[in-house]
Amino acid sequence: MLKDFFATRRGIIAVGVFIGIFATFLQKWGNPGNMGICVACFERDIAGALGFHRAAVVQYMRPEIIGFVLGSFFAAYLFREFRPRVGSAPIVRFVLGAFAMIGALVFLGCPWRAMLRLAGGDGNAIFGLLGLIGGIWVGTLFLKVGYNLGRTQSTHTSVGWIMPLIMLGFLCLVLIFPQIQGKDKSGVLIYSIKGPGSMHAPLLLSLGIGLAVGFLAQRSRFCTMGAIRDMILFRQSHLLSGVIALLIAAFITNVIVGQFHPGFKNQPVAHTMSLWNFGGMVLAGLAFALAGGCPGRQLFLAGEGDGDAAVFALGMIVGAGFSHNFGLASSPTGVGPHAITAVIIGLLVCLFFGFTMRKKIG
């Protein structure tokens, strides 16, 4: 019964509502504004916590990300859906992950945060969402003419455990080296003492919600990119109904708890350069479409044994390093000094993949 429920429209809507409500509450409980859950931002914070970049305001080992992978892992095992698999052009997925992150950090958010920003009244998110749709639309054009990254192979069970084990390792690091009030370092981990990286809900709460979301999203196949792609490609609204449920639930919760502040200026962790809010998400959307999932979905797939999705997620973490080390990521004052060049290069790389990786499924 439970197994079937999540495959229904009601099931996906219930999951969207759950994510919308709890993401909004995570903001109330300490996460940054309109950033209750942001897969791109949180992986960027993890990159910072590990010292892969030195942007002092965005360094924190986000337990939500750990929870996403482990929650999905538990669900996959519980419902006998754990299938270890690898080998569908992992290096391409790594590069797509890196550029997806670069694009998302020009906008300042993944598709989940784009929804949460809109639900919190941030009008700049409209340009990001339009860019996301545009990027995914370009991706569907490639899919229509046979773009694919080839078949995966089933593999050893332990291969599928690698990403969950990495996340377990990260969890151990947080427990061994917990945050020390007012200090920017604890053992090997780096912690922001100001800025968005310093803002976070209590660890166990973040982890618990992360685990629940991971579990539910694995069951329901929740995917923001798939929602838009399926609508464009097949006129299917199944996944989209979950994403719209997230948006509406987050909006209502924001209104109730007093977090709805409509406008364009002075929105939390956002800038007003509309063209690049749009452009950054065109790049991210195209990269997600070519890789077959939004950053959240890639984590859930990694949890159920998909080693290629794990490589995409690791690519995003490395991309975050490049973003901040090279001055590509935006800040509330606007885009980084080299952001525009990076977006153009990213788009060219995606087009190269799209044009050269077609048909011939062996």
Binding site: A7, R83, S88, L143, S154, H238, G292
Partner: protein, 72 residues
């Protein structure tokens, strides 16, 4: 004549695209699609139903599922 679509190892949305292409090609009759994940099983079944086809059977195999869809 029963045609077989082998979508094993392919991730979303490839199995659905292949099924849709086959549906367009044959128009009616019976198609068997082999997939290796539960996500693909659900997506292929949902796509077939949306095109007015019936899911006749879903047989579990060691490496996934064999889905048979049909239209009179």
């Amino acid at each position: 004549m029963n045609t077989i679509v082998d979508a094993r190892g392919l991730s979303c949305p490839q199995p659905v695209i292949m099924t849709m292409d086959e549906i367009k090609k044959v128009g009616k009759g019976e198609i068997t699609i082999i997939v290796d994940t539960d996500t693909s099983r659900e997506n292929v079944s949902r796509a077939a139903i949306s095109k007015g086809w019936q899911v006749k059977s879903v047989e579990p195999e060691s490496t996934g599922y064999r889905i048979t869809i049909a239209k009179e």
